[in-house]
């Protein structure tokens, strides 16, 4: 870039939003858009490999880069589409964002609901107020609790502000490791949002800020490290170990809180590897170890975590499930925002789709995606190998409404879910199916290996608790059809919602439950799978879908 001695700001106009941002020359368009407070996804963390951050230039489109050309069609390039992360601004421009980004800004993020009261037998012994925090990689939820009555009196949630530095834990770890300033920035962003939301909760409930004396926090291992300001780098490189599992309680001021500075923060303990305190809290909340028989606890998201509990064994493992279950890396994929197709089924020979908020279909989130794949398998439109059939191969008994949705052109095969929404067609492509296969195989391999390690067969499992946003929204029928869980657990699957948040609340109100969480974290044996050859084999073996009950055409 020539240095002409002037540092005039550039203007980026965001079409349709009535927004304009001023930025310095040379910054990436992705950063520019994010500086406007818009959550433009970048699965690859701005490396130009995922194509998530595509935007359309209305004016001032730069020459396409190598990365643009690799991920966008000629038609798209001609229309002005570029990857925001690979576009470094040198002139004013006007851009249009994909519809889902524009929508996400205007609407509140849906949070998982759970009971306001707490399922417990004991009586609260504390007094005053406390806040339980569930730090998700994507969404953070804060619950204001009346400690004396054990009642929830307020809830607030916000998108994790660290998302601007990458959507997943690996990209956050990479960013945090750039240096102390970057690590501090990740912590500061989270803490300042927490502080703001804590204050809003108190205001809403009409209580004084200094009446909040106790805070509990849960999260995956990376979130635990970033909250405490500890470089999570060892979690990002083999053998993927955390720096700490437990922390003694500390006053909020140590994290940089100005208000609430004296509130005591208890970060719940983790198990090991990437199995963090959200899993411990969840296992505690569903009383896994108090149940008779053999149970599985699973939290499904970009990372899958599985805990197996029997009288003889308590073991937990995590696996990289790939981002498909979160709607990421999927052609029409989106997060679980209004407009996302969350259910797909067949009724009287016709395709039925339900969207979050009954809005127009903008895209597909994880639960809708697995429903769609299950339907395709059931109807023989998708072979167990994961190959979509061609339009001329559709089995004779497939109803017309489904038949005409099977499409193929030069880009490959796909299945049409919704035509001509405001964001164009919503489809499931052959590539999406491959992403689903890569997401479900490691989860199933993890279950298999935990069972093998405990000398148990799948039919021995009495209960399966499925937690997490995707896990709770996905239908058990679809999880079975895809082979995410073994067929033997049919009828024993329970969607349990946000158990991590529930566990944080329990530990907040009842000190003995906090002590219990510490006991559990030590009891659960962490099983590291990625090193193991039998995991690789199980992974490969579970890439195809189950054949049982489905036809091979």
């Amino acid at each position: 870039m020539p240095d002409d001695g002037k540092h005039e700001p550039l203007h980026v106009a965001l079409e349709g939003l009535g927004l304009e941002v001023q930025v310095v020359s040379g910054i990436s368009l992705l950063d520019a858009v994010r500086s406007a407070g818009l959550a433009l996804d970048s699965e690859c963390g701005g490396r130009g490999t995922c194509g998530e951050c595509r935007v359309r230039f209305v004016q001032g489109a730069p020459r396409p880069t190598v990365e643009d050309a690799a991920l966008l069609s000629q038609e798209e390039l001609d229309d002005g589409w570029r990857l925001a992360c690979q576009t470094f601004l040198t002139a004013d421009c006007r851009i249009a964002l994909p519809q889902r980004v524009a929508h996400a800004r205007r609407r509140k993020i849906r949070i998982l609901t759970d009971a306001a009261g707490l399922p417990t037998t004991g009586r609260p012994t504390l007094s005053g107020y406390g806040i339980a925090v569930d730090v998700g990689t994507t969404t953070v939820v804060c619950y204001l609790m009346d400690l004396a009555r054990g009642l929830q009196i307020g809830v607030a949630s916000f998108a994790n502000p660290q998302s601007a530095f990458g959507p997943d834990v690996i990209s956050r770890i990479t960013y945090a490791h750039r240096g102390p300033a970057e690590l501090r920035e990740l912590q500061r962003r989270l803490v300042s949002h927490l502080e703001k939301n804590f204050a809003a909760l108190c205001k809403g409930a009409g209580i004084a800020l200094d009446s909040v004396s106790r805070v509990t926090a849960v999260g995956n291992m990376t979130m635990m490290h970033l909250l405490r300001g500890v470089d999570p780098w060892p979690l990002g490189v083999a053998p993927y170990e955390p720096v700490f599992l437990e922390l003694p309680p500390f006053p909020a001021r140590e994290l940089g809180f100005k208000r609430f500075a004296g509130a005591e923060i208890h970060v719940l303990p983790g198990v090991g590897g990437h199995v963090g305190s959200d899993v411990v809290a969840g296992v505690m909340a569903v009383d896994l170890t108090r149940r008779p028989g053999i149970s599985l606890y699973m939290d499904l998201g970009t990372n899958g975590e599985v805990v197996l509990c029997s009288r003889k064994a308590l073991a937990g493992a995590s696996c990289a499930a790939g981002p498909a279950f979160e709607g990421v890396h999927i052609h029409s994929g989106m997060s679980a925002f209004p407009g996302a197709i969350e259910r797909v089924e067949e009724e009287d020979g016709r395709l039925q789709i339900d969207t979050i908020g009954d809005a127009d279909a903008l895209g597909l989130c994880g639960s809708g995606l697995v429903d769609a794949v299950a339907l395709l398998l059931r109807r023989g439109l998708l072979r167990p190998s994961g190959r979509l059939v061609a339009p001329q191969q559709v089995p004779a008994d497939v109803p017309d409404d489904l038949r005409r949705r099977v499409e193929e052109d030069a880009t490959g095969r796909r299945f049409l879910l919704s035509r001509d929404g405001s964001r164009g067609d919503v489809v499931v492509t052959q590539r999406d199916i491959r992403e689903v296969q890569l997401a479900k195989a490691p989860v199933r391999a993890t279950i298999d290996l935990l069972l093998t390690g405990a000398h148990l067969k799948p039919e021995a499992i009495d209960d399966v608790f499925v937690a997490g946003g995707f896990g709770s929204a996905a239908r058990s029928e679809s999880l079975l059809a895809l082979g995410v869980v073994p067929e033997e657990v049919r009828g024993r699957i329970h969607a349990v919602g946000n158990t991590a948040g529930l566990g944080a609340k329990l530990a907040l109100v009842y000190p003995e439950r906090l002590a219990e969480a510490h006991g559990l974290a030590r009891q659960i044996r962490h099983v590291e799978l990625v090193l193991r050859e039998d995991f690789r084999q199980a992974f490969a073996a579970h890439i195809p879908f189950p054949r049982d009950g489905h036809r091979e055409s």
Partner: protein, 209 residues
């Protein structure tokens, strides 16, 4: 003896069928080199194409690989008897800090399916291990794989270490977080988007495209 049938068995991942036809071909007096060049290599190249078009996926590719290795085991003694020269030699591995091996494995399969001799160092491979393997094998080509963005710095360190010792050794890199721009920035000689691209790149880097 019809080598087309052998090629087809390989594409379909039929290991017993591939082995039986390879044996039949050898018994009928066909040179091993001819069987390799006219059935196995073109067969694996079809498999690579199908994979690229999303028609084949990891399981199909692994099945084809198993069939290929079975046939190669039969051919190898005959190949070494003659004046057979492999297409090239390569050392491959996943860089230090990264334990993911499936991408590297696919590259290895496609290289071997194209007549390369490959030394596989596995995963979490330190730069020194790559140096050692290059020295021992005499290979002029190294392939580095990484799945996590956290291990990209290890990739850079490995490229630097290799180039310091011998700048004429060619290094190609690949993996989900890797781009051409990244390859350029760390001084790698090439970047392959997928296993098929890696083969073309390997040929080009060794000057026998």
């Amino acid at each position: 003896m019809n080598l087309g049938d052998l090629k087809q068995r390989l594409i379909e991942g039929d290991a017993p069928g591939t082995a039986a036809l390879a044996k039949e071909a050898l018994d009928s007096g066909l040179p091993a080199q001819k069987i390799l060049n006219e059935a196995l290599i073109p067969g694996m190249s079809v498999v690579g194409d199908l994979f690229e078009k999303n028609e084949y996926f990891v399981p199909e590719l692994l099945l084809a690989a198993r069939a290929m290795y079975g046939a190669l085991d039969l051919l190898r003694p005959k190949l070494t008897e003659g004046d057979y020269q492999p297409t090239g030699k390569a050392v491959v591995g996943t860089v230090q800090g990264d334990l993911h091996d499936i991408g590297k494995k696919l590259v290895m399969i496609m290289l071997e399916g194209n007549g390369f001799e490959v030394v596989d160092l596995g995963t979490d491979v330190a730069p020194e291990k790559f140096l050692e393997a290059v020295k021992e094998s005499g290979s002029r080509l190294v392939g580095l794989s990484a799945l996590l963005t956290t291990t990209l710095p290890a990739m850079e360190r490995t490229v630097r270490a290799l180039k310091e010792v011998d700048s004429s050794v060619k290094v190609m890199i690949g993996g989900a977080p890797v781009t051409q721009a990244f390859a350029d920035s760390i001084g790698a000689d090439g970047y392959g988007r997928d296993a098929s691209a890696a083969v073309a790149l390997a040929r080009q880097l060794l000057g026998n495209a």
